[in-house]
Symmetry: C2
Subunit: 243 residues, 2 copies
DNA sequence: TCAAAAGTGTTGACATTACACCCATGT
DNA sequence: ACATGGGTGTAATGTCAACACTTTTGA
């Protein structure tokens, strides 16, 4: 399978742990073969190059499966980064020359973000040194990946205001407090609990179950599920063109 | 200047004529050199391939300048089309083999849309057979350009609800009726005149001039300008996460 | 019995909708 | 004088924001 050397696909994998919005990152290390000195030590999203004969979306699914073991996961293309200088930092050039000599200088990357229930990811991690990092406390990142993650977050923030995608980050069954935390963390705002619940109560696609939390040292919360089906049947166009 | 044979940049150029939202398209014709028979006759957006050492955004600006003569125009990347079958229709293959034999089968295209004051475009048209077509009455289109235009329109509709970009389609000075028509046509909705004006009156960035329309056979309308400056100073975050 | 989070309603402010008549101009 | 689009206000309804106390559970 021949790779397309000037097109890569990167995937910002978001997860949520009830406290932070996290991104899945893989450590990149390079040691000088002579001196043993550590020349590069940082993190990247570790995308892949597209393959000849492969749709871009399929390449993104491949990256996601490779890193998380998951398939049929929310995945959205948000931007293509095509500046000529995106791989020109000294350490990135060193990395590419050492590891990927066939790759030319100007690689454009089609960036996707995906939302995963992070409890499902852990067992599948195939890469050593792949870890979740809070988007507010990113480690040193290689290439232009810090920028890509920042832009991904902006698109996510925009999208989550309009579409019911937050549920992708939660387990199938969740409580309203979890849902509220999710919105608060992603949008970086505080929400009023009662008003939030009023709003959710109008969403027919957030469905209460006859089931409560168990084993918590406080009043157990009602458990809900999300139904995309109901959402699709009940959504209506918003008509405001607010600026 | 070496072209990058597997990456192209397409630009959906939108214009507005107070009645329709239009797209600028160029005729594509191919005649059989032997029989003189017309083998292809349709329209395309006529993008370009990216050049080695050129930022994608610069490639898009180049396409736009080439087709309209305009620079410093609103230009927004919205999606990258990367399906392997996007150029595989028979006539498109014929076209590519005849005209661009160096281009491989799988070309991804990074698509931008731009918004232009179409009164400024006409004098510059460099291509014969470049014309405006209403998005509601597109001619037969080559490649996957019909899909690209459809998707561009969806992104435009979304964006114009949130950001003051409609002004890019109008002359510097415009009337509120023009602005209302613009919103109605792009969003494909009807708006109440009085309510529309109330809403615009709240927008500090739409500024009335001491100037009226001239030479119209009815009460002349007040003339307005848009100020991005004022907009940037007065915009506030919307906090609703409506779905 | 205490700590911790769940759950619940009302009010005032503001925004949105629906709707009909007079005005200024060119012909 | 008439045809054409410009310009304006009010009332009813819906939506949003602010706010505090009681409940249920495990420890």
């Amino acid at each position: 399978m021949e790779i397309i050397s000037n097109i890569s696909v990167d995937c910002v994998i978001f997860g949520f742990d009830n406290t932070c919005l996290n991104v899945l990152l893989t450590k990149r290390e390079l040691t000088d073969p002579l001196t043993g000195e550590l020349m590069i030590e940082d993190y990247t999203m570790q995308g892949h190059h597209a393959l000849v004969g492969e749709n871009l979306d399929d390449a993104a699914k491949r990256v996601l499966k490779d890193k998380t073991g998951l398939e049929d996961i929310f995945l959205k293309q948000f931007y293509t980064f095509g500046d000529t200088d995106r791989l020109l930092k000294e350490k990135d050039q060193l990395w590419l020359k050492t590891k990927f000599p066939m790759v030319r200088n100007h690689v454009i990357t089609v960036a996707y973000y995906s939302l995963v229930d992070s409890s499902k990811v852990k067992p599948y991690q195939q890469y050593q040194n792949t870890k979740w990092f809070p988007v507010k406390m990113l480690p040193e990142l290689g290439f232009d990946h810090e920028k890509i993650i920042r832009v991904a977050l902006e698109y996510l923030q925009e999208e989550i205001r309009k579409e019911p995608i937050g549920f992708e980050l939660l387990p199938e069954k969740f409580t309203l407090t979890q849902l509220q935390n999710l919105y608060e963390v992603i949008l970086d705002i505080k929400l009023d609990r009662r008003n939030f619940r009023k709003k959710v109560a109008q969403m027919k696609h957030v469905i209460p179950l006859n089931e409560k939390q168990k084993g918590v040292a406080h009043k157990p919360a009602q458990v809900f599920i999300f139904s995309r089906d109901v959402y699709n049947r009940t959504k209506k166009e918003r008509l405001d063109f607010s600026v």
